[in-house]
């Protein structure tokens, strides 16, 4: 019994292998080098440059606010924070090499924050922002709390520790973005471009894996968990990204737009071209159509994500279903067409 079920798949694969060997000769092998060159130089590095620039802008806007503690200046900080948070949606995918070494995604992008811990850090002092215990007390999400909570203006005005904590969080993110950017500019880009294999440690494999993983983070963390997809349909709004500022939907949209752009290699060579070279044009069409449908669905929502959760949860279920559908195309069909093994464990609890 055991032997039969094991042999069958082997046989089919071997037959299939022999059956298509001939075609390989007429098919020009796709060069992955230019794809990595394009993605590295024209997408990844610019995304870190932009993130760093936006965080620098946030820092200077915040410092201006510190000198003039007024509501209009706080509004400027909020705007700069929003811009930087949006730029992070373009950069958060590339969690390998330099970003992985500095744990960028966790340090900058962890949500939701432990707001009790943030307040206790401020009150008690003596915190180390980079410590693992403070992962949920730093990053963009902590600023959502610090800038938007009801008593924010009062605390900024009268509590120096509150002001300092906010500045330290901003500066920590800025220096992490800078370190990542600098590592890319000083050597890693060359390593990245040259690593064209499909073994699990190759840059190409890492890129395919992180593309998928980021997409699943969008699907699960930014949407699925808050709308109850991992809790039997019971909504968990406390898990919303950027709940206080209520920009969750914008962030979700930008991250999807960004992943679609990565798939297409911006205006250069991308996964789409590789699939086309493998004569998988219909898969390219399908993936792009699904990305577009997801973005259009988001654009059709007029309020915030939380308002939609309250007013029209069925519409978000429909969005989630669309997002779920794309997983098969990019994680199963695309990854196997590339011969890349998906090595990360997803935590999809549905």
């Amino acid at each position: 019994m055991l032997s039969i079920k094991r042999i069958l798949p082997f046989t089919l694969l071997v037959v299939g292998l022999i059956g298509c060997k001939k075609k390989k000769e007429d098919q020009e092998e796709f060069q992955k080098g230019p794809l990595l060159e394009n993605v590295g130089s024209n997408i990844i590095i610019p995304s870190y440059q932009n993130l760093y620039a936006k965080l620098t802008q946030l820092e200077s806007t915040y410092q201006a606010f510190q000198l003039d503690l007024t509501e209009p200046k706080l509004s400027d900080v909020k705007l700069a924070w929003r811009e930087a948070y949006l730029s992070w949606q373009d950069a958060f995918t590339f969690e390998f090499g330099p970003a992985m070494n500095s744990g960028l995604r966790t340090a900058v992008g962890t949500f939701p924050s432990d707001t009790t811990k943030i307040m206790s850090n401020i009150t008690n002092g003596g915190y180390v922002l980079g410590a693992v215990t403070n992962i949920d007390a730093v990053g963009f999400s902590s600023l959502d709390f610090l800038l938007y909570r009801e008593n924010a203006m009062n605390d900024f005005t009268f509590n120096a520790a509150y002001r300092n904590y906010t500045l330290e969080v901003i500066q920590k993110m800025k220096s992490e973005a800078q370190a990542t950017l600098s590592a890319w500019n000083n050597g890693y880009l060359a390593t990245f471009k040259a690593s064209t294999g499909t073994e699990s440690t190759s840059a190409f494999s890492l890129l395919v894996n992180e593309f998928n993983k980021s997409y699943e983070i969008c699907k699960n963390a930014k949407l699925g968990i808050p709308i109850g997809k991992q809790s039997l349909g019971i909504q968990r709004p406390e898990y919303l990204e950027a709940r206080k500022s209520a920009i969750s939907l914008e962030l979700l949209r930008q991250s999807i737009v960004s992943l679609k752009n990565l798939f297409n290699g911006g205006s250069g060579v991308g996964f789409d071209d590789y699939l086309n070279a493998l004569e998988r044009q219909s898969l390219v069409t399908s993936i792009n159509a699904q990305f577009s449908a997801i973005i259009a669905h988001i654009d059709g929502i007029s309020g915030t994500l939380e308002q939609e959760m309250n007013g029209n949860p069925a519409n978000l279920d429909a969005l989630y279903t669309k997002m779920q559908g794309l997983v098969v195309s990019i994680k199963t069909d695309m990854a196997s067409a590339f011969g890349v093994l998906i090595t990360y464990q997803d935590n999809d609890g549905d």
């Binding site: 019994m1 055991l2 079920k5 094991r6 069958l8 798949p9 082997f10 089919l12 694969l13 071997v14 299939g16 292998l17 059956g19 298509c20 060997k21 075609k23 390989k24 098919q27 499909t198 109850g228 997809k229 809790s231 039997l232 349909g233 019971i234 909504q235 493998l278 004569e279 998988r280 949860p313 196997s336 067409a337 590339f338 011969g339 093994l341 999809d348 609890g349 549905d350």
Partner: protein, 364 residues
């Protein structure tokens, strides 16, 4: 190890060099396979591949918790004892279980949002039990007797024991079986190698997950030849005349397990769907049966009336744990249904009861 690496390597070569879609053999192979009539499965050497001892332990834990709660009808009971049993403190419920089960607890297997909820009810039942010598009435906790049966109610007429019992049946047994062990994550694991034959684990990881789901259903391997006197196997049998669910449940557990043994996973998936739908139906129909009983006792026997209503309340609550993809009722509809029970059972009218029953009926 070889058996795992090889197909992947071949597949990778194939896929990267060939433009044709590759069909996964397991999903298209027309493969008929035998299904046994009892839940007994063995490997080629005759070793049993079935083990769900952890599930049996948890079922026995809940049985002993129920027995302790029943003692609250005639004695003051201690919430901490129940909590120690629930969390299986020191592997023996802190000395309150008649047996030891290392690392097996109900609390950490309970649906995460509700783990603490049942502890709050344990506090409540302990408080109610302080009135075991008082006759219950509207606004007064105590006991009511009908014939030889005595029940303990809180001041709002709720028999808390029923809520905790049915809640854990749902939040642990049904939830773990349907959402966890039959869920996509635990159903996507290895089905090629025995986990650890040297330690007597002759089953694959996938086979074991299926067995653990079956274990939570809580029936004998020969079910329905032998009917349990407790939990889901008991209620399945009660609803069998209406739903034909004894055969449905057992056949699908057997067929799905056999499908896994023969690696015909699309058949396995069909069985999961059937089990999920049937299990949820058992829960809903049992709730309606209790509502009917409650209505029959309304105005004639307060003990039986409140007892049945409490059982219904617990069963309706347990519907919350049915898988979202197959559940007949959305969480917001379910919340509205729960709200129909109001804050105080003593104040419900016969029309209220009928409305609750009709609301369940409309969905099932």
């Amino acid at each position: 190890m070889k058996a795992i690496v090889l197909p992947v390597a071949l597949g990778a070569i194939l896929l990267s060099s060939c433009k044709k879609d590759v069909v996964t053999p397991t999903s298209t192979t027309p493969f008929s396979f035998p299904t046994p009539t009892t839940y007994v499965f063995q490997d080629a050497n005759g070793n049993s591949t079935v083990d769900y001892s952890g599930q049996i332990a948890r079922i026995n834990q809940l049985r002993e918790m129920v027995a302790y709660m029943v003692s609250g009808r005639t004695n003051v009971i201690n919430a901490q004892v129940l909590k120690d049993m629930y969390a299986n403190t020191n592997d023996n419920g802190n000395g309150n279980f008649s047996f030891t089960a290392v690392g097996k607890q109900l609390k950490n297997k309970c649906f995460s949002l509700d783990q603490n909820l049942y502890e709050l009810y344990m506090d409540s039942i302990a408080i109610a039990s302080q009135s075991f010598a008082v006759t219950a009435s509207n606004g007064v906790a105590g006991v009511l007797t009908s014939g030889t049966s005595t029940y303990l109610f809180n001041k709002n007429g709720l028999e808390i024991q029923e809520f905790i019992e049915k809640g854990i049946m749902g939040g642990v047994f049904m939830h773990q079986a349907l959402n966890e062990y039959l869920g996509s994550g635990k159903q996507s694991v290895d089905n090629t190698v025995a986990v650890d034959p040297a330690a007597g684990k002759y089953y694959t990881a996938l086979e074991h997950h299926w067995d653990e789901a079956f274990g939570y259903f809580g029936v004998d391997v020969t079910y329905p030849s032998v009917i349990p006197t407790y939990f889901w196997g008991k209620y399945c049998n009660v609803q069998d005349p209406t739903l034909g669910c004894n055969k449905k449940m057992m056949d699908n557990f057997l067929r799905g397990r056999s499908a896994i043994a023969y690696n015909v996973l699309n058949e396995r998936t069909k069985c999961i769907e059937e089990i999920r739908n049937t299990w949820e139906d058992i829960c809903a129909y049992q709730a309606m049966k209790y509502m009917t009983s409650a209505m029959n006792y309304f105005g004639t026997d307060n003990a039986k009336y409140l007892h049945n209503l409490s059982e219904a309340y617990g069963m309706v609550w347990a519907l919350r744990y049915a898988p979202e993809s197959t559940r007949n009722i959305s969480q917001s509809e379910h919340a509205a249904l729960m709200a129909m029970f109001g804050q105080n059972f003593w104040n419900l009218t016969i029309n209220d009861l009928a409305a609750i029953k009709n609301a369940i009926d409309a969905k099932y």
